[in-house]
Symmetry: C2
DNA sequence: CAATGTGAACAGTTTCACAGCT
DNA sequence: AGCTGTGAAACTGTTCACATTG
């Protein structure tokens, strides 16, 4: 029945990082009553080219209809499926400072499939505190409170504590780590790690501010900046590898 | 005198995103008394290949010495220079929730060159609050408090407020935006935008957890995982484009 | 006939291998 | 002898152009 899903090969990482963006747009359009989306429209709203959208979506199998476009609702489901948002991913957050709290509270961050199962910190001032239905504990108290393996560990500690956090998370079964601390982690080879280093983001911006030096729009790389619009979507990619 | 700096062409974005990592490592080594670093050592600590390190650093001009390696202190300075960390970048943060506060407090985030000049929010509960020597104000009060153009605007608001924040920041002269809200921003073509979407990071991890499915270390892409170590650095890239 | 899906050309990065300094 | 700097090859991802299909 289902119109041929889950195409064969692996999906390239840049594509994987763009799929959630298409999904968000498709969901919003579906919500406002639009049943179908063209690659052109999706491209305009996502800040990429239409060809890229089609290549990206082709990885999901054929869920478009020629002459018509993609079914918005079907797109949302199809992308959920490949992203694994359907499954259940027990998440532990280490480091309950401002960043940790921001992650806990951010709407849409721990939604759909990503289930918070533990909060870890060492600061005695917040140990024992209850946040979002979870008590903040030290690492050695965590196993007693877990009834399952951790799938994803989020490291929101200072750099000095990050490696230890990674070790402990791996010991609890985490196969994936999301590291916000500015350090390169040493991990066994089968562990997937993604880095989000906020200070690097700033530095990359200032570097290009320097080299673009007022030569408006010269930003060689992408930047589709579609046809006739006073303002065009600013295209962006989300990187990192394991 | 200075040994030929600032090579001609543009530096590829993936390289730009790695330079701060090398810098951090070089700084740490210099601090512990090591005067010179080889590409091999830098590679092992950064989780990349030695060839990549050499190609990357070659963009800075020739600051290595054959047979010896790179001078650690010189590396730190050279990278500061190309990243623009020497210059002065007035930064405004919009959205003083947990994330905004995390950015303000994170050691190393607003250091060296990135100078906080304004905090904006609309929540009456925190308006007027003083944080890090800056009073949180509404956007319309900000111009009166600024004595210069904004260089970089950081958007740490909910998605619903992000586009407005972007518009206002651009009006204040910001040429670069760092957007943490899960939305594609519409901006004039000469504005550089980088996206950090936390929920996408989680989804990318779960996608690959799905497809790698226990086939340990098969992660095709990079993953140098050097020679003989029980644990190898987990390589990572930091992406996004304007 | 509009809009997808895709082979082929193109572009950007990474890896390799080694020539060239120190 | 050791280690950088760099062309050339390999690879990965993007853009183009169009045949194909509903």
């Amino acid at each position: 029945m289902a119109p041929e899903r889950q195409r064969s090969g692996v999906i390239p990482e840049p594509t994987v990082a763009r799929l959630p963006i298409y999904q968000r747009i498709a969901a919003e359009l579906a919500r406002t009553g639009q049943a179908t989306v063209s690659s052109e429209q999706l491209a305009a709203l996502a800040g990429v080219t239409a060809a890229k959208v089609r290549k990206d979506l082709a990885h999901l199998g054929k869920l478009g209809t020629r002459g018509t476009g993609y079914d918005a609702a079907q797109l949302v489901r199809g992308i959920s499926e490949v992203m694994g948002a359907d499954q259940d991913w027990p998440v532990v957050i280490v480091g309950i400072g401002n960043l940790g709290r921001a992650l806990i509270n951010a709407r849409g961050f721990l939604a759909r499939g990503y289930r918070l199962v533990g909060l870890v910190d060492t600061d005695t001032r917040i140990l024992g505190t209850e946040i979002s239905g979870h008590t903040v504990v030290r690492f050695d108290e965590l196993p007693a409170r877990l009834s399952e393996k951790v799938a994803i560990g989020i490291i929101a500690t200072p750099a000095s504590a990050a490696q230890d956090a990674a070790d402990q998370l791996v010991a609890l079964g985490a196969g994936s780590l999301l590291n916000f601390a500015p350090t390169v982690l040493m991990t066994p080879p089968h562990i997937r790690v993604r880095y989000v280093d906020l200070s690097i983001e700033l530095q990359v911006l200032s570097h290009f501010a320097l080299t673009d030096h007022s030569d408006a729009g010269a930003m060689s790389s992408v930047g589709i900046q579609p046809i006739a619009a006073p303002w065009a979507p600013a295209a962006g990619e989300h990187g990192a590898r394991s």
